[in-house]
Amino acid sequence: MTTIVKPEVKQAEDTPVKKNKSSVYKTEQLNLWYGSNHALKNIDLDIKENEVTAIIGPSGCGKSTYIKTLNRMIETIPSVKTSGVINYRDKNIFDKEYQVEELRTKVGMVFQKPNPFPKSIYDNIAYGPRIHGIKNKKILDQIVEKSLRGAAIWDEVKDRLGENAYGLSGGQQQRICIARCLAIEPDVILMDEPTSALDPISTLKVEELVQDLKKDYSIIIVTHNMQQAARISDKTAFFLNGEVVEYDETNKIFSNPSDERTEDYISGRFG
């Protein structure tokens, strides 16, 4: 297993700080059903700020479902029912009064397939601020630049901000999506397999970016790729059949998992 565990050494540096961090998301006894399909079962997870938390598990185990529940995007599917509590910064997001639009301006999301809007690069980034009432051109310009820099794509696109975002490569599009998400200065960024549609080089870029963003944002990332989880995350949660089997320091999960199923999975015995 040596090859796989290698990248963790780098993360070990961060370990001492972690203990003091406060929670951004506290999930308690979360259950979720698609119609009669019980997709999430008694999930308890405590996610800390300014960390990268990876969620891994075989296909269909509920990773996407869980991450979509965190910003209530799951509600776009009519058959979904939930029970339990998710506290975001100590407020239950399932509360009646909790306005979902407000939650989502605090919690950004990056999707599996890059999904820029069919607009210019500039308009893509400015979309979020604009709908939230920022119309001043100067401020928008600043936001666009800052976000694109934050997503490490400013240099590549600064001369073609007026072009349609669909003219970019997949990797660039994905970083545009990340920039779009940064433009409203979220607190948390959710990422659902953000690199699975990308080539290796673009993947690398996005991974580096995630490492970088960690300073300012709390990041929750779903990935199929165990090497990726090992490379970039601080904590890892292993999902199986809608349950959290194990949640721990990434280091620990990949070198010395406590659950046999975790071991089986990361050693490739299934999935």
């Binding site: 995007m73 999707f111 999904n115 069919p118 709908i131």
Partner: protein, 313 residues
Amino acid sequence: MAMNEPQISVQELIAKKSNRGLLAFTEKLIPKILLLIATVSVLTTIGIVFTLIFETITFFTEVNVFSFLTGTEWYPFANSTPTYGILPLVVGTLKITAIATLVAVPIGIATAIFLSEYASDRVRRFIKPILEVLAGVPTIVYGFFALTFVTPILRSIFPEIAIFNAISPGIVVGIMIIPMIASLSEDAMSSVPNAMRDGAYALGATKLEVAIKIVLPAALSGIIASTVLAISRAIGETMIVAVAAGSTPGFDWDVTGSIQTMTAYIVQVTTGDAGYGTTIYYSIYAVGFTLFLFTLAMNMLAQFISKRFREEY
């Protein structure tokens, strides 16, 4: 794989049975037959163009082309000096089309937005077929409805409106094309990938913001194309105007009085069955040809729009 049955070798059976020669022959023949069938649609167009062109040419041996195209008086039935200036018929057609468009475009697009962005699956599945019924109502029924229901209502509100007018059939033609705009625009809007909506929702956008700022622009070419098609349909609509718009072609922009459209003129003459060979008989072909060119131009425009401005995503 222990099997009790006598062992059969499928490959041997196949080798015995298959008739590659015959198969290869049909394989060659079929596309040719299908190609012949496919050319029927082309022949139809050729047939239409030829029918219209020949009689139109005969018509132009009796009536000057230029005065036909630029004339502002259409009195083919006059005893001494019949005049054939098509502009009044064109203007009549445009009045109907304009009113229909004003009714149908806002309502149609609003319906499309509601169905594609707000309505639940069940509501959509319930409403769409009903709208299709609205699109399938025979136009003679609409004509009857315009004359016996819409016109009296309009006249009770605005007494200056005549019994035959452009407004009532215009509105009803509009109602007739609402489903067309709604349904085609809804198709265009629902084919905008959900990923795009998700992207906006995840930024905290409301449904309205997603609909207006993301979906509408992305589906714009489809929406415009559907509108153009619907307008073309309004131009060619016949029975509603034949029944409810009157038959006095005028070269003005008054919509409260009786008008005549190109289609209604054709019906007027054919129900009177102007016999073979009179100038009036030929005139319906000239008018038909003009009408054909109008709708052809609109259809080409619709195709151009949906091809040229198709969003890349």
